[in-house]
């Protein structure tokens, strides 16, 4: 017997088809049977009312640390994908800084297998392979094998590919398979020992700074290499105004560059570090008001293609230490939509349709996992309430870790469910 679900009165936004209508969506056995207004459900149809809610092509977060294998006390693929699902994501790309690193096809296979087992595989887990062996930046990882096993991008994230020759070769190699090299941009010697943005606040606090130029110089170099090799280059978690400018110029010149920003980098400034709360410590660090504004402008004018969370779980014990000892990173999957609607849609930087582009259309295009909400296609959908106001309670996070600087913060907009591979989750 086939399983039929009717998503009723949803505002369907699919930017790839320039679609924004209130419709009913009938899904049969995981495939979209019909999209039109007023479908009358038969008695064998499960009805889900989505009145005043948005239905969008499934959101993807292309920058997530699932921590498995190796750091299961922080997060597992099971808890991380549940966190993603509750944040409204039907897919995640997981970064290779695991232990062992995702620098071998066996690890790609392991991660994918764990992803399929978790919650009946409702969240697609797409591994990002390491650029270099053990992410040491010295010699190339078996890139072709990683891709064949299912890696959708390459990155040494957490660390930069600092050697220009290794970077050049990685770009050339990745180009053969049309996948991007996703760079964590940081000149190690300029960032050395830093724990926060270098500037007035670090000067007051006496904490060692990471200057914006550490990020910008690597972007500049990589853009030149990307132009030279004609390869695809993706800038991870941009944090400075100058970085956005460089990417803007790069795009203008026709370089194959894409970029992402995290919700915390378009929301918070380094002023918040005055609390010495280690949940304000991440890399790249929180920057200044000017930089935050540049992120929003970059999203608005299309320089920044993607919102990605850099979801980086750490246990309470690991974070409950002094600021220098504490690890970099915060969790982000479950606050991404709320922060984005509050900071970007409410403040008129993006329309809801553009927001869907940043969370689904664009990132899916970058890793080659495009979807379309159309009759006859597999249903892969994110449902969210664009106006609900709520307060972050870290205790309620599905992620195994609660390291977020947003506890207690009022947000606007929240995921209400996802549908993928014939599986439905509603919250």
């Amino acid at each position: 017997m086939s399983e039929k679900i009717l998503f009723q009165s949803a505002r369907l936004i699919d930017p790839s088809q320039k679609k924004d209508d209130v419709v009913d969506i009938l899904v049969v056995d995981g495939t979209i049977e019909s999209i039109k207004s007023n479908i009358s459900p038969g008695s064998d149809v499960k009805v889900v009312s989505l009145k005043d809610k948005v239905a969008a092509p499934g959101f993807i977060d292309i920058h997530v640390h699932l921590r498995e294998p190796g750091f299961e006390h922080k997060e597992t693929i099971e808890t991380g994908t549940l966190s993603a699902a509750h944040g409204g994501f039907t897919a995640v790309c997981c970064m290779p800084n695991t232990n062992p690193a995702i620098d071998d096809e066996s690890i790609v296979t392991f991660v994918k297998t764990q992803g399929l087992k978790a919650h009946q595989g409702i969240v697609d887990v797409y591994p990002i392979g390491a650029v270099s062996k053990n992410r040491e930046g010295k010699s190339l990882a078996p890139i072709a094998e990683l891709i064949q096993a299912g890696a959708v991008g390459l990155s040494d994230d957490g660390a930069p590919v600092f050697d220009s020759l290794v970077m050049r070769r990685a770009l050339e190699y990745a180009k053969m398979y049309n996948i991007p090299v996703m760079q964590h941009c940081e000149i190690p010697e300029l960032a050395h020992g830093g724990v926060m943005n270098e500037g007035r606040v670090s000067t007051e606090l006496g904490l060692p700074g990471i200057p914006g130029v550490a990020e910008e110089i690597m972007i500049a170099r990589d853009l030149i290499l990307s132009e030279y090799t004609n390869a695809r280059y993706h800038v991870c978690h941009m944090s400075t105004a100058q970085a956005v400018d460089l990417v803007r110029q790069g795009k203008h010149k026709g370089i194959k560059v894409t970029s992402e920003v995290t919700p915390h980098h378009f929301t918070l400034t380094d002023d918040i570090v005055r609390s010495y709360d280690t949940n304000t410590k991440m890399n790249p660090p929180l920057r200044t008001k000017t930089d935050v504004e540049a992120m929003k402008q970059g999203l608005k004018d299309g320089t920044i293609d993607v919102i990605a969370t850099d979801h980086a779980p750490h246990s309470l014990d690991e974070k409950e230490v002094d600021y220098i000892q504490a690890p970099f990173g915060i969790v982000g999957l479950e606050t991404a939509i709320g922060l984005s609607i509050l900071e970007l849609v409410e403040q008129k930087y993006l329309t809801l349709s553009q927001l869907v582009e940043k969370f689904s259309t664009n990132p899916r295009k970058i890793i080659g996992k495009e979807i379309i909400v159309r009759e006859g296609e597999k249903a892969n959908l994110t449902f969210f309430d664009p106006i609900i106001q709520w307060k972050v309670e870290i205790a309620k996070f599905k992620s195994k870790s609660k390291n977020s600087p947003f506890n207690g913060r009022p947000l606007k907009g929240k995921a209400v469910g996802i549908y993928n591979h014939g599986k439905l989750m509603l919250y």
């Binding site: 007035r200 000067t203 006496g206 904490l207 200057p211 409950e320 002094d322 600021y323 220098i324």
Partner: protein
């Protein structure tokens, strides 16, 4: 009237009235220190733990002396930070000590913000005896005390801090405290040792010591850590001394007496020439005595507050 806070974590944001109260209170304690019997029963029955995660003979002995002069029970705990990072966290260490029913903790730690962190995880009063490169409030206060004693006031004074500003908690506490009290603060040092955007704190930045000397009433000369040379912040100690060292010859050219402070220990003939350190305008040894009086004042004000 007591202090507005239960802790002394730094001088940034501490109101003028509080600083005034500490400085005034220290006057009476300094008077006690000049008596034949230097001990008072003020903190009898109170237990103070000195938690020193970083070596510091001067600050530790100054605090211990101040505590004993006030008749407190004193426990000093020194641990190299490395042994702590190997196992027990700062939180566990502090909580274990507090479980023994103590009243105040004086802490020196190599990380900025450690004192702030401690104040959030324990109940006792916390006094910051230096946290990384952030603040060293008791040093800032004793410097202000010494200046006020010398000049009769702090308002309108111009003080220049010389040397490694970047890594100095003394510099930060001096800047915040002196500015609150109405003094003008400038800094002078090699550009590589001046923290970014420090002008935004309202200080003027100089790189040529001869330019600043005619304008100031006092110099607070910082100790240059010898490892900064190896760290590549400047080419050599010889060059540092030549261009940034405070020498008698330089001071004479300024054409007026300039008081000299130094938090110690001095690298003689690196940041400060020996004749200046021992010279008539040096307040350095007075600072040491004032340090005990200031620490007694703070311990008293925090320890007896209701």
């Amino acid at each position: 009237m007591g202090l507005s806070s239960r802790h002394l974590l730094g001088l940034q944001g501490v109101p003028k009235e509080d600083i005034q109260l500490i400085l005034d209170t220290a006057v009476s304690f300094k008077e006690i220190l000049n008596r034949p019997i230097k001990k008072v029963p003020t903190l009898q029955g109170k237990t103070i733990v000195n938690l020193f995660f970083e070596n510091s003979t001067r600050t530790r002995t100054s605090f211990e002396l101040a505590e004993r002069r006030l008749s407190a029970d004193v426990l000093t705990f020194t641990a190299s930070t490395s042994s702590v990072t190997k196992g027990e966290t700062l939180k566990d260490t502090a909580r274990n000590i507090e479980a023994m029913k103590i009243d105040m903790v004086v802490m020196r730690h190599n990380v900025a913000g450690a004192a702030d962190f401690l104040s959030k995880v324990i109940q006792s009063n916390v006094i910051n005896a230096g946290d990384g490169q952030h603040e060293h409030p008791t040093q800032g206060l004793l410097d202000m005390y010494s200046l006020r004693e010398k000049f009769g006031k702090l308002e309108g004074l111009h003080v220049c801090i010389v040397g490694d500003i970047l890594h100095s908690r003394v510099a930060r506490s001096n800047i915040f405290g002196l500015q609150t009290m109405g003094a003008k603060v400038s800094v002078c040092g090699p550009a590589t040792l001046i923290p970014r955007e420090i002008e935004q704190l309202g200080v003027d930045v100089y790189h040529h010591i001869d330019d600043i000397l005619p304008k100031v009433d006092a110099l607070n000369v910082l100790r240059i850590q010898l490892e900064r040379e190896a760290g590549g912040y400047f080419p050599s100690l010889r060059e540092f001394h030549r261009f940034f060292g405070v020498t008698k010859e330089r001071l004479e050219k300024a054409g007026k007496p300039i008081s000299i402070l130094h938090p110690g220990p001095i690298n003689r003939d690196v940041e400060l020439s020996a004749d200046v350190a021992d010279g008539p305008h040096s307040l350095i040894l007075e600072q040491v005595l004032n340090g005990v009086a200031i620490r007694m004042a703070i311990l008293y004000l925090l320890g007896t507050a209701q």
